[in-house]
């Protein structure tokens, strides 16, 4: 099984690089390394686990196990990924933490 390095970067500048197997998700690998990432449904519906790929095309670096329903096309095009479904296909850098999820939608009245 191939492993890849995933570098997780938080908004406060903290970062951690972990090894992720191609058959596990970023969220699973983080948990294996005792790193707490936000999540909710684990089925791709809630978006709580959203991360953002910091370089490279999302399709090349990460593969979603199934359709990431919580992300709209515009989000996918902008490099957002669901860490409960995403497994690495190459080394990657990903913005993580709860604030990534809050970027997906804004206050429609403001």
């Amino acid at each position: 099984m191939t492993n890849h390095d995933a570098t997780l970067e938080w908004p406060d500048g903290r970062s951690r690089t972990i090894e992720v197997r191609e058959d596990e998700t970023i969220l699973e690998a983080a948990e294996r390394n005792d790193i707490g990432l936000p999540f909710g449904c684990r089925t791709g519906a809630c978006g709580t686990c959203t991360g953002r790929l910091l370089e490279g095309a999302a399709d090349d670096a990460l593969a979603h196990r199934r359709r990431p329903r919580a992300l709209k096309d515009r989000h996918l095009a902008d490099g957002y990924v669901l860490l409960c479904l995403a497994s690495p296909r190459a080394d990657c850098r990903i913005a993580v933490g709860s604030s990534v999820h809050t970027e997906l939608v804004d206050n429609p009245w403001k």
């Binding site: 519906a45 809630c46 999820h101």
Partner: protein, 466 residues
């Protein structure tokens, strides 16, 4: 009277024939007269979606003004896993089972809205509830359901939970039934009766249930997106069910003025066919009732909360009427306009013509009071709970973690609060209790959000009479 001391005595004013031997109170009036003042509250408390790496918990709040720990969280029951988004919850038994000998209002059914994990807490020791059983999400998904919401007991000791999505977080939702041993019994209704689901309330003596609509979990989970409103992804219908058969008899489309019908309540009087539903996005209140001549239910808009201009916002801001409740004597309808920052009270003695009684402007976008006991508020009034005697109204400030983040991002940093107003039911007035504040900003693992509130011995938003 508490359930722990429930005896086999026939209660005064008991208006049906069997003896009152089970949990709760024989009638709504008995609940008012025989209940003691609430000493404790259970409150859903959550960390899901924040960077606080801790599980959600059930907070036990001390509400006894004579206690040294008044207004404090005196116990926290942590869930076994993270990521639940505890939201709404309920008892294994309520006054609808007051005839069932041996049944106790003892277990709290606490679902995770995002995880679909269902927890059962044993609250025999009211101050120290304990986790008893957990139903794992995979077991729920087997019935092609997810996103558990409203929990009511059914009169024979079983438990019914409204489920907002299918196993993939898409439509349709449905209802999951648990048996007395807290095992999944199966789906309650034949699948396919409804598409969207949210809250429900039943009136067994009328053989009717009413259910409302939010949206598919995948639609509302990530946050509120106007595109979804335009695409028709949010609900605006209410459904009337044959309670015995579990089938939909009638659906009413509330139209543009009824967008996102959330909390729904029948009057407590078991004979009544009147009720109210709050539509959050349109910010209107609908009265529904059974029209005998037409032999069907009708719904009419009876309260309209106007959107308000705000100098920093591009468009008029809707009130977002997210929660409502009816006092135990069926006289007052209370509600919260989460975005505006209002708690309001209407006299509904004549349910087709509600009369505004009073309101409080606190928190939210426009609230006149923006801090209590020196603590800045970070959200608007949201989930409400009223004392059984109708004299104390409490509320919390979090709606749903991802929606909070859009409208009140400070809530994640400061946490929620629980506030209280003293209500005078005789004059129909409310006054903010400036000394009362429970602060979730001080929780040990970090600031938490607070959502639904329940009393140990029955409350205005869960008890039903058969």
């Amino acid at each position: 009277m508490s359930d722990a001391s429930t005896s086999g005595d026939v209660e005064p004013g008991h208006d049906h024939e069997h003896h009152h031997e089970g949990p709760g109170y024989a009638t709504p009036q008995a609940a008012i007269e025989e209940s003691e003042r609430e000493q404790l509250a259970y409150v859903m408390s959550l960390y899901v979606g924040t960077d606080v790496d801790a599980p959600d918990f059930v907070a036990v709040v001390d509400l006894d003004p004579d206690s040294e720990t008044y207004c404090e969280i005196v116990d926290r029951v942590e869930m076994p896993e993270r990521g639940d988004e505890l939201h709404h919850f309920g008892w294994n038994a309520c006054s609808s089972s007051c005839h069932v000998d041996g049944l106790e209002r003892r277990h709290l059914i606490v679902p995770g809205q995002r995880s679909s994990r269902i927890h059962v807490l044993d609250a025999a020791d009211r101050r120290n509830p304990e986790l008893e059983t957990v139903i794992e999400p995979e077991d729920v998904f087997e019935y092609d359901l997810s996103a558990p919401h409203t929990v009511h007991c059914i009169p024979d000791g079983q438990i019914l939970i409204s489920m907002l999505g299918d196993a993939d977080g898409e439509l349709p939702g449905g209802f999951l039934e648990l048996n007395e041993d807290f095992e999944i019994e199966g789906r309650w209704e034949p699948p396919g009766e409804i598409e969207m689901n949210y809250d429900y309330w039943y009136q067994p003596r009328q053989n009717v249930m009413v259910s409302t609509e939010w949206a598919a979990p995948k639609t509302y989970y990530p946050g509120f997106d106007l595109e979804d409103v335009e695409a028709g992804n949010y609900g605006r219908k209410i459904h009337f069910w044959d309670w015995e058969d579990g089938t939909v008899e009638q659906t009413i489309d509330l139209g543009e003025e009824g967008q996102i019908p959330l909390e729904v309540r029948f009057l407590h009087t078991p004979e009544s066919t009147h009720g109210f539903v709050g539509t959050a996005l349109s910010s209107n209140m609908f009265h529904f009732f059974y029209d005998v001549d037409a032999d069907e239910y009708r719904a009419e808009k009876v309260i309209d909360f106007e959107a308000r201009e705000h100098e920093d916002w591009d468009m008029p801001v809707p009130g977002l009427t997210t929660d409502i409740l009816i006092s135990m004597d069926d006289r007052y309808l209370f509600g919260s306009n989460w975005l505006h920052g209002d708690v309001w009270m209407y006299d509904v003695s004549d349910p087709s013509n509600p009369r505004r009684a009073d309101s409080l402007s606190v928190g939210g976008t426009f609230g006149e009071v923006q801090e209590v006991r020196g603590r800045e508020l970070a959200g608007g009034p949201q989930m409400l709970q009223l004392s059984l005697d109708g004299e104390r109204l409490y509320w919390t400030t979090s709606l749903f973690s991802s929606w909070d983040d859009q409208f009140y991002p400070e809530e994640a940093e400061r946490g929620s609060v629980m506030l209280k107003a003293d209500v005078d039911p005789r004059t129909g007035t409310m006054e903010l209790d400036e000394d009362f504040l429970v602060d979730w900003g001080d929780c040990p693992a970090g600031p938490a959000r607070a959502h639904e509130i329940r009393w140990p011995d029955g409350d205005c938003t869960s008890d039903v009479w058969q």
